[in-house]
Amino acid sequence: MAYYNPEAILTDAQKAPCTFELAVPGLAPLNNGSAIEHGTKLDLPLWMAEMLAVSKPAGPSSTSLASLDMPPALGPRVLNALSADPKSVELRAQAQWFYGLGERMLDLFDEEKMVELLIDMFSRQTFKQRALEIADKSQNTRTTQQGGDSGDFMGGLDETERQLFRAAHDGSNAVKRWFESSSRS
């Protein structure tokens, strides 16, 4: 992802659970001051977690410093809810940059092809269905502004979906504005 892209930075700042394989006394500040032992679980941002999981320190035991687990936002409960009804899940409550998170996890979990394919299918199905819903909602400007029963759906969109909504809304708004401006001149 781009170095200067704010979306990429925010996506990488999301936390994922890590389990330390070794005792790392030097990183105690991460754990609120108490030393980190073998087996300590911590929530670390993705950029740090990736580095720790990938780097292998030289020495007799060549395991990596920490192992990375799937964040709860992509856990089996959420995946089941998504397969049941993609449109009713509040992605924003799970993670503000849900699809970005999914993408990063797909990058890191290279070995487990089954998991990858599963998530991939879900992302495509959920993304498409939610995107179609967004397209519908963007046409009806009055109900979305009042909130109403569409307030739950709109509040549950993650950042990429919000941008999609804005793009769709801007399109139809710009056409309306052009019609009005050309009627005046």
């Binding site: 990058d107 991939d120 993304f127 995107a131 056409v175 052009w178 019609f179 401006s181």
Partner: protein
């Protein structure tokens, strides 16, 4: 990088560009041909109808020096006919076709052949000739149909027989076509596309932002799968097991 300028044309820009289309004008005063950058305009000799660019036609209309003659497809019967075509259930997937292009006048480029000379160039929409003049095709909607119809109805409504019916027909046509486009969103994917033959400029501008965002999002989700597939194929090729298909060259050119 966060780019705030929209890619492609915005609806305002499409509306501006449609003013370059030519319309047939019935002058009320004489006027010499104007020497413009793009070439001279025709001289105006009342009462002969003359083609002029739309922006000039609208200006003369405002100054009451000319009347604009609506193109054949912008009449109640023609629009009703097209609307029937659109709402017919057999054409639920398809938009009404654009005007047919004139026959090609140049063949294969040979040495000394005037392939790129101005008189043998063929234009397609939005540069097709006679999209809105009196010689336009009656049963097809040209590329800028929505913008042209709106501008002519706004500024030259007295030149129409029945402006209200035409306004209503234009609105209905727009709704039917937009709903067809939106139904096509369902098949969008990183590798798939919608068939949009006959779509108009303003319609594209309206859905451009959304379609871009959706295809981009699907592409990003598919990215890791694409990369691992490419890695696997590269390994296979190195091990001599791959089929070495030519499709991989196309993949490398994809952005």
């Amino acid at each position: 990088m966060a780019m705030f300028l929209p890619s492609g044309l915005t609806p305002d820009e499409v509306g501006f560009l449609c003013e370059a289309e030519e319309v047939t004008v019935i002058p009320r005063q004489r006027l010499e041909g104007l020497e413009l950058l793009g070439g001279p305009t025709h001289a105006l000799n009342p009462p002969f109808p003359t083609p002029l660019p739309l922006w000039l036609a609208l200006l003369l209309k405002k100054q009451r020096r000319a009347n604009i003659s609506p193109p054949p497809w912008l009449s109640a019967e023609a629009l009703t006919h097209i609307l029937d075509f659109e709402t017919d259930e057999r054409t639920a997937e398809v938009l009404s076709p654009a005007p047919a292009l004139p026959r090609a006048t140049s063949t294969a480029p040979l040495e000394g052949d005037p392939y790129l000379s101005l008189d043998s160039l063929e234009f397609s929409a939005p540069f097709a000739k006679n999209a809105a003049t009196s010689r336009a095709q009656q049963d097809a909607l040209p590329y800028h149909w929505l913008e042209l119809g709106h501008l002519l109805l706004t500024h030259a409504s007295d030149d129409f027989d029945d402006p209200d019916t035409i306004r209503k027909l234009l609105r209905d046509l727009r709704e039917v076509r937009m709903s067809k486009l939106r139904k096509g969103f369902k098949v969008l994917g990183p590798g798939a596309g919608i068939k949009m033959n006959g779509v108009g400029g303003m319609e594209i501008a309206e859905v451009r932002g959304f379609v871009e965002g959706m295809v981009n999002g699907l592409r990003k989700i598919n990215r890791s799968r694409e990369e691992s597939r490419k890695e696997r194929e590269a390994e296979d090729r190195e091990n001599g097991l791959g089929s070495g298909s030519y499709q991989d060259d196309e993949d490398e050119n994809m952005l």
